[in-house]
């Protein structure tokens, strides 16, 4: 990734640590982009809601995705014509997906703080990735398992639970899955 000559910007975490990053990486965050573009070019941007551990992870994500985008762009411009481009597979997309999958293999606390940070910093790709990881933690689990996994305090009485189950009976039925309806393959 081209680091030479690119403008750098300093991001300061809530616990006082400073991270110097290329401006193009910081601009993955739309919040930071607005600060740079609309307010005025600042040399140091304080981020009061993101601590150093989470900020360093966020920066890691942004760096990787900016680098991947630059690699894809330079590859496309060197390819001759559309014929070659039509038949080329996209190994870089697969690599990035694998990298993303590894990136979210973190403990729950880190993951949820990443969700909050991605939301605050307005980084759509990271928000989507982390929310999907959280959803994957819920998927397929029973209510009991979910409560245990996320340390939820169960404060619904059995009668209340029964009433909710009845109201939404269709969702709680253990019905036989009929064959997937696939007319539009």
């Amino acid at each position: 990734m081209a680091d030479n000559g690119g403008k750098k910007i300093t991001l300061k975490s809530s616990d006082g640590e400073e991270f110097e990053v290329p401006e193009v990486v910081a601009m993955e965050s739309q919040t930071i982009r607005h600060v740079i573009e609309d307010v005025c070019a600042k040399n140091s941007i304080p981020l009061l809601n993101v601590n150093s551990k989470i900020l360093s992870k966020v920066i890691e994500y942004c760096k990787k995705h900016v680098a991947a985008a630059e690699a894809a762009a330079s590859k496309a411009s060197t390819e001759e014509g559309t014929a070659a481009a039509a038949s080329v597979t996209k190994p870089s997309d697969e690599d990035l997906k694998t990298w993303d999958a590894e990136f979210v293999k973190v403990d729950k606390g880190t993951l949820f703080n990443l969700i909050l940070a991605a939301n605050y910093l307005h980084i759509p790709g990271l928000l989507d990735l982390t929310c999907q990881a959280a959803a994957d933690m819920i998927k397929g689990k029973s209510a009991k398992e979910i409560r245990k996994f996320f340390n939820l305090k169960n404060c619904i009485s059995p009668e209340e639970e029964e009433e909710i189950r009845r109201e939404n009976q269709w969702a709680f039925e253990e019905e036989k899955r009929t064959r997937a309806f696939d007319a539009y393959a």
């Binding site: 601590n51 559309t82 014929a83 929310c131 959280a134 019905e175 899955r177 539009y184």
Partner: protein
Amino acid sequence: MDRPQPQKSRVNIDLNHDYITNLPANLKVKILVKLPLKEVVRTSILSSKWIDSWTLIPDLVFEESSTESGLIKSVDQVLLVHQGPIQKFKLVSEHDCNEAIGRWMLILSRNGIRDLELRFGINKNKKCCVPFRLISCLALERVYLSYCIINVPRFFNGFTLLHTLHLSYFHMPGFGIEKLVSCCPLLDDLTLSFFVQQGCLRILAPNLTSLNICGDFHDICLETPKLTWGCIYLSSSSGDYQEFSLGNHGKESNIKRALGHLSNIQQLELCGCDFIDVRLIYAYLGMGPISENLPVFNHLTEIFVQLRTYPEEIATVLYFFQTAPNIEILHIEDMDEPHDQALWESKAIQDCLFKHLEVVDVMYARATELSLRCSKSMLEFAKLVLSTAPLLEEFNIIDLEDAKVFFEMLEFFPRLSKKAKIVFVKRGDEESGADLNATQWVFSHPYEFKNLEVIK
């Protein structure tokens, strides 16, 4: 996109902490929306703080097949307790929802529906009649309907935000298609498949870039100047192309009438129906007097045609080779048809330009028993291309049963391009499939092309 919500909570890497319940509602919803609907609803019993969390999800997808009453009850129940805007509603079902669809559409229209997908069943031969309420859904951006009857009322102001419309196995009485399309100024991506249109199918869409038509129509007029991707597939139940009308009572050639506005087209696929053994689209386009100002396709870089050798039809095929100088990728389907040697020595052939041609794919019909060997016409075509295309790189022959003879002959044809390679490819069953309808599509998905660059 939501405005970012600043968070007061600090980081707390505490193993016993409940991280998820106290997330702001919009983030909780962002997570829930990635789960199947049943699991989302089941979160209502997790704890007292979760009872209503799920009711805010903006996307409702009903895909699992259950009993008819079960399905209707579940949709009714969800729509009843749901809160907030409903951005997406998707229903895939084999059941008869004609009775319920009216009240569902009412609720959707009041909740700002943007993305509507209704795919009804193929088991019963019954289409769902989409209620007039549909037109009150003014925020619609994407609509996908299958097995539906859609009535477009006379006083229809259109969907001003609609950009994607995919209709299949549908029926729109009168000139409903024309009216619907012309009232949606932002329409960008249109698919119309498996339908019958009496009279002329006129598509008036100034911003349309992607068009996919597969249907039974006698006359077509595409007023779509921004179109870059087009796939026109004509299938007729009558099977007799003599019945086709000539546009403008014969004053204009059909190719001008149908495709005259497509000055920006980059990728084009023209197909006739395979299994009736009548290739109608080429005959249709070939009709009408040769007038002035026939369309020229300067931006056309990729094309799929069928090698039609009947006189009225071959003229159409050659027309593209004569008026589209920038074709880079050519897909041509060999049809085992009568060979006319005189044609291949005519001026029409010499006027064909293959200046930028790089890739040729010769396709053989997969699901039918036709074309188990290459036709004489295809040999002539191969000879022509190999000797006149200076930039040719690949000459691929796909799924040909009796490849040996073809190969032996091709090897001897002179090649203008030093780089040209002849390759035999077997795509096999993964792309053919038993469904005859499916085999007609060479390119199954328009988005395959979207990433291609255009050489100006």
